[in-house]
């Protein structure tokens, strides 16, 4: 019976191929790609059918062909029928692979083509997009700046718009507060860098074909010293991929495991299948690579500091985010924005969704205070009182506030007694009983440049009032001052302040209306940190839910060696580096020291680089130039969309396409993992089928396809792809999510988006920390901390040893009670001073940029370069902006838009000056992470005019026993630029000799 059934199914497949050939040009085109014979059969050869593909024609017959090029074998007919009978059960398929019930033999390029062609018989007829008339189709996609409609005609992108909901989409939620009704609009918003995408897509800096550095010869002279100097020549994909695959094999065999490192940025173009945590992680695990281990980059102070006081390690030291929009609007009397500029940072992925809610803040006349050296975009929008502390001095301000509260009895003593521990130690430090120095407003005045009277006025206004503290762009931490050298102290101090005011009391919480909307958090769609198709259960959040919902092959990296990212250049050049792991599973996991090289592994000889942003986002980044020019790196490959940043240091460049040129699936602001329920930033949850709106430009290919084609050359393609395309993965993810409950696949891929209905008012999430305030079991919908981390009963108390907020951190006492950089009670210690401060008197802050998403959007001849607050054109070149106080500028003879040299011992950057009153004297401001590095002379040792201010920032980890960047404040001097390219760079890393070779 099974044999008959299997024979019939194989015949059915033959019919299906024939039918789809008749119906679809795309399928006919596909069939022209290869000439070979495939066969499907049972192991005992009792049933079989062959398919011969020849010049676009398919012939087929039953029986066994001994000379077939590829063979798909099922153990028995019964198994074949079970696996192939619709509806296909994905788990059964995966289990069959794991149990060796089927096998695939033959060259990878043919097996992978055959399985994907079989899949294509199912997908080729799918219809995408909405016909708008006049030959225009409206597709949907997702950018880091929000969801978009793409209007396309004749394979050309005409326009990008945010999404206006149609009459069938659900109504958003409503909040009643203080007699007013608040309801967000029926549309999505978009961040500026999302609106910029058409120019990014069509950028003249797009990489359109594979390239090789002209003086790189894998079989001869490699000339690593000329990386960043020599030009490139075009090569074919086959040449490029053969070379990359060949080098992978050679390096593994010559040097052993660990010799290949993979380094990606912190972000990617959007899409759960193509994301680095998905496709690249599977690739890393398939090949076996040394991972470049990320520091918790936007969370630094919270992870290394705050988590010891209030837990939250799985949120990287930040806190619960539920229900705070409604609570703030109903209860709060004041919001303190402390290094918090949500209008400038768009909640990272939150578009301008929070902006309309903060407009309500104005309507309700809730008092607002901004603490930031820069009169930031949110201060500009919201108004209120601006306090401008000297950059990196905020911990002193926090301590002075605590001093006033204690002195004047303005804190919640019951809460401190019942819900916290260690207050007496904090009290003694603040009041000077410990070190003889009372941390009074007068003490803080010279540290912060704030007047003592203002600090006192703020403390009095805050104390015993219902106040929301907004720390960082998200309001619960994230970005801002946690990234400078006192960031850990700042984050820790803020937790102590909130503990004194009764965190979790109605109206007393963390937030700025950026997170915590009443969307339905119980509706499941995976975030990107859940790892997509990576199968990686170790380095992604996949094991929590996605692995079960979207069964797939697990993958594991056999190379356990890792390089702490902050020390990547030192690891390559000096051959050693040490750091600490970012691992959120417990508070104590951050005490795991990692050393490179790991015993028994090879040092890194090859770097596989995804994107090229580190040179502008990492501190003291001239180090990266030296790293690339080191002969320790035998081979560097760059897989990138644009020719900028580090792609200009590669030996081989593989051109990746954007997410508008490949299919994918995703949800807006769905991060998952460390930023669980990021969708509470939104007014409406929106899931997107990311249409392939246009064909890949030039010869560019999606990351998934590039990885697949390298894997084909390593015999790994079936393992990497599971025999399917990225489109098929998108369908699998749809099926694994809750989306089928509200929309059919057919409608979803046609319309491109679906709005997930909001939560009913009576079922909304409870307010963060309120359970803690009321000493109840934890009731917010987050699966953290892990069960074994509860000290009392499950769900009672928080992750700390006492289960309470600890002014004196038990975890730090256990780890190193005498660490002067991170003592159990937070202490003030500001490293921005001394002789260096006399030489370089300006404190430069480098917050996240507003108009680009890190490097995405900047330069590339894109639209945002025209924005007066992003770059300024002087003599035909668009210069990065440095903001400087008007009096400081006048003293230096600097006028508006003069070209100036921002410099210190590490390097020099030419910027256009923006003379302003939005900074106090002594402070200067320029965004971190521009896209381009343009040294005017010798790379690594001359003036840069691209605008990389991170050339000047301190590389020192905030604490030695951590892996914590502290580069958002640096000491610099600014002077009118003399037009010279030379600048003496003091570096511990020597530059090798160079002989430039011109580009062809």
């Amino acid at each position: 019976m099974g044999s008959l059934m299997f024979s019939l199914m194989l015949f059915g497949l033959r019919l299906l191929i024939w039918m789809q050939t008749m119906r679809y040009q795309a399928f006919r085109d596909r069939l022209k790609e290869k000439n070979f014979t495939a066969q499907m059969k049972t192991k005992d050869n009792s049933v079989g059918r062959w398919f011969k593909f020849q010049d676009g024609k398919v012939t087929s017959g039953s029986g066994i062909k001994s000379d077939a090029d590829i063979t798909l074998t099922f153990k028995t007919s019964e198994i074949a029928v079970r696996l192939l009978m619709p509806p296909i059960d994905q788990l059964e398929q995966i289990n069959a692979m794991k149990d060796f019930l089927l096998s695939l033999e033959g060259p990878d390029e043919l097996t992978s083509w055959f399985t994907q062609t079989v899949m294509m018989t199912q997908t080729v007829g799918w219809k995408y997009g909405v016909d708008m008339g006049g030959g225009v189709t409206r597709f949907a996609n997702m950018t880091n700046g929000g969801p978009v409609f793409l209007y396309v005609k004749d394979n050309k992108l005409i326009r990008i718009t945010p999404i206006d909901f149609d009459e069938n989409d659900p109504e958003p939620w409503t909040i009643e507060a203080r007699g007013k009704t608040f309801k967000p609009p029926r549309k999505t918003t978009l961040a500026p860098h999302g609106m910029n995408w058409k120019s990014m897509l069509n950028s003249p800096d797009r990489l359109l074909y594979p390239m090789k550095r002209v003086d790189f010869d894998p079989n001869g002279e490699r000339n690593p010293q000329n990386r960043g100097i020599s030009g490139y020549e075009r090569i074919s994909w086959d040449e490029a991929l053969d070379m990359v695959a060949g080098e992978i094999k050679r390096i593994k065999k010559e040097h052993g495991p660990g010799a290949i490192a993979n380094s990606h940025g912190s972000h990617h173009t959007w899409g759960n299948v193509g994301y680095y945590l998905s496709a690249d992680f599977k690739f890393i695990n398939a090949v076996g690579m040394t991972r470049v281990l990320h520091n918790p980059d936007s969370w630094e102070g919270w992870y290394w500091g705050a988590s010891h006081h209030w837990g939250g390690s799985l949120r990287v030291g930040q806190t619960e985010t539920y229900g705070t929009v409604e609570d703030l609007l109903k209860e709060a009397e004041m919001v303190v924005f402390w290094s918090s500029n949500p209008e400038g940072t768009s909640g990272a992925y939150g578009s301008l969704e929070g902006t309309v809610r903060r407009k309500w803040l104005k309507e309700l006349d809730i008092d607002i205070v901004h603490i930031d050296p820069y009169y930031n975009d949110s201060a500009q929008f919201l108004g209120g009182k601006w306090l401008a502390p000297k950059p990196a001095s905020s911990p002193a301000l926090a301590m002075a506030i605590a001093n006033v509260w204690i002195e004047e009895d303005l804190y919640d003593k019951d809460y401190v007694r019942d819900r916290t521990t260690g207050f007496d130690k904090w009290h003694d430090y603040i009041m000077g009983k410990e070190d003889g120095i009372a941390k009074t407003p007068e003490w803080a005045e010279p540290e912060t440049d704030l007047k003592a009277k203002e600090i006192r006025a703020l403390a009095r206004k805050w104390g015993n009032r219902k106040v929301y503290l907004a720390a960082g762009g998200w309001g619960n931490g994230h970005g801002g001052a946690c990234r400078n050298q006192t960031g850990i102290q700042w984050s820790r101090s803020l937790v102590c302040l909130m503990a004194m005011q009764g965190l979790g009391k109605p109206g007393v919480n963390m937030g700025n209306l950026q997170w915590g909307t009443p969307v339905d958090t119980n509706f499941y769609f995976p975030g990107y940190a859940e790892g997509g198709m990576s199968g990686d259960l170790h380095h992604t959040a996949m094991s929590v839910e996605l692995y079960q919902r979207m069964p797939q092959l697990p993958s594991m990296n056999t190379v356990e060696q890792a390089i702490p990212r902050l020390w990547l250049p030192e690891a390559i050049i000096d051959g050693k580096a040490e750091g600490y792991a970012w691992d959120g599973k417990s508070i104590e996991a951050q005490f795991n020291k990692i050393s490179y090289p790991k015993p028994g592994y090879s040092p890194v000889k090859m770097l596989y680089k995804i994107g090229g942003s580190l040179i502008s986002t990492m501190a003291d980044s001239n180090r990266h130039v030296k790293m690339y020019q080191s002969e320790n790196l035998e081979f560097c490959v760059s897989q990138a969309i644009w020719h900028e940043g580090e792609s200009k240091f590669a030996d081989i460049i593989l051109p990746a396409c954007t997410n508008f040129e490949r299919p994918d699936i995703s949800e807006w602001a769905a991060l998952g993992g460390y930023a669980f329920h990021g969708q509470t930033q939104l007014n409406s949850r929106v899931a997107i089928f990311q249409h392939q709106a246009i064909q890949p430009m030039g010869e560019s290919k999606s990351d998934y396809v590039i990885f697949s084609e390298i894997c084909e050359r390593l015999g790994l393609s079936a393992y990497f792809t599971e025999g399917i395309s990225e489109l098929d993965w998108a369908k699998r993810m749809f099926d694994g999510s809750d989306l089928p409950q509200i929309i059919s696949w057919k409608d979803f891929i046609r319309k491109g988006y679906v709005v997930i209905p909001p939560e009913q008012p009576e079922l909304r999430d409870p307010v963060s920390w309120n359970w803690y305030y009321e000493d109840r079991k934890k009731d917010v919908p987050e699966p953290m901390p892990l069960p074994s981390d509860y000290k009392d009963e499950y769900l009672k108390g928080i992750q700390t040893q006492s289960g309470k907020i600890e002014f004196e951190a038990s975890s730090l006492k256990r780890f190193d009670a005498n660490d002067p950089e991170r003592p159990p009670v937070v202490k003030y210690n500001n490293p921005y001073g001394g002789a260096e401060a006399e030489k370089y008197p300006l404190r430069m802050i480098t917050p996240h940029p507003r108009f680009s998403f890190h490097t995405q959007g900047d330069a590339k001849d894109s639209f945002v370069n025209n924005i007066k607050d992003h770059r300024v054109e002087v003599d035909g070149y668009y210069y990065w902006i440095i903001r400087i106080n008007a009096e400081d500028a006048a003293e230096r003879g600097i006028k508006m838009h003069d070209l100036v040299k921002v410099h210190n011992d590490q390097g020099a950057v030419v910027c256009a000056a923006l003379v302003t009153q939005r900074l106090p004297r002594g402070a200067t401001h320029g965004y971190e992470s521009c896209a381009i590095y343009e040294p005017l002379g010798e790379p690594g040792n001359s003036v840069d005019r691209g605008g990389i201010l991170n050339l000047l920032t301190p590389k020192k980890s905030q604490i030695k026993k951590g892996h914590s960047m502290g580069n958002s404040t640096a000491l610099v001097e600014i002077e009118l630029w003399d037009g010279k390219a030379e600048h003496d760079v003091t570096s511990s890393i020597a530059a090798p000799e160079k002989e430039p070779v011109p580009a062809e």
Binding site: R159, T355, F863, I867, A886
Partner: protein, 279 residues
């Protein structure tokens, strides 16, 4: 007859530049025959955002003013155009004909708002067309408005009498009315761009400790007339806004319980932050 108007509220403009970017997205690389030729990728600012900082750190105000073609009812550009190259549509929108206007560089100078831009490649004067091509196609708002998260920019299609009522009720103004061109673009809270303020912080010392003085009464005098009054907040701050630039001498008088009166003379050019005033 209902006509298009644009209302821009400075209070809600955050300088996000979405309107600017949407305009580039719509017009760079796109030609809309009869409406507009493509916009140059750089150098043209059909929508331009002007920045105004007022006062001195740490008491300042920053406002942004989006400026574009004002679609004037008495448009000087129409008069300056040869060959009827510029026309006024029945719905109030002004359109520079991309064919007839070719070579007419004088039109750039004719606009008192600087809102006509010269496209050197095409030898064409160009402007923000209110996205007339989209409105004609059934769109409800021009793109600059539909991408604005705060509704700082909003288009309204009403008859002129109704618009006059709205302008009156909401305190809308036109930009530089002295040009007399009857713009169809209206601004709200324009004072944040074209007026100025006098502000300061009141403090006092008690036993060697300085403190902010809350609830001090502050009067602003022009000559002997009290023209405004304020009360200090917890930071001792006060601010008198909507004053004319270069409007001459003022006196600020401060009284507070337990302190003698204090006064400060101000010669007002642009906005001034007086800093700390100790009683």
């Amino acid at each position: 007859m209902s006509k298009w108007n644009l209302i821009i509220d400075l209070e809600n403009c955050t300088n996000c530049n979405m309107c600017v970017l949407a305009c580039q997205d719509e017009h760079v690389d796109n030609t809309f025959p009869g409406y507009a030729e493509e916009m140059p990728k750089h150098g043209s600012r059909w929508i331009e955002i002007m920045r105004k900082e007022r006062g001195q750190a740490p008491m300042i105000d920053v406002a942004y003013l989006p400026v574009m073609c004002q679609h004037c009812d008495d448009a000087p550009c129409i008069k300056a155009a040869e060959n009827d190259a510029i026309s006024k549509r029945d719905d109030g929108i002004v359109i520079i004909d991309p064919v007839k206007a070719k070579g007419q560089k004088q039109l750039v100078e004719s606009c008192p708002y600087g809102a006509i831009w010269w496209n050197d490649d095409l030898q064409l004067p160009q402007h923000w067309i209110f996205d007339a091509h989209l409105l004609d196609d059934g769109w409800k708002q021009p793109r600059a408005a539909s991408v604005c998260a705060t509704e700082a920019i909003f288009a309204k299609k009403v008859d002129d009498a109704e618009m006059a009522k709205i302008a009156e009720a909401e305190g809308l103004e036109v930009l530089s009315p002295e040009h007399g061109t009857k713009p169809r673009v209206y601004y709200k809270n324009l004072y944040r761009y074209n007026k100025c303020f006098i502000g300061g912080s009141v403090a006092a010392e008690n036993n060697g400790t300085a403190d902010c003085v809350k609830d001090a009464s502050v009067k602003l005098l022009k000559g002997s007339d009290v023209i405004a009054e304020a009360t200090t907040d917890v930071f001792g701050d006060f601010k008198f806004d909507r004053l004319d630039e270069n409007s001459g001498g003022y006196k600020v008088e401060i009284t507070a319980d337990g302190f003698g009166p204090k006064s400060v003379d101000v010669e007002l050019g642009e906005s001034v932050t007086l800093g700390d005033i100790y009683l």
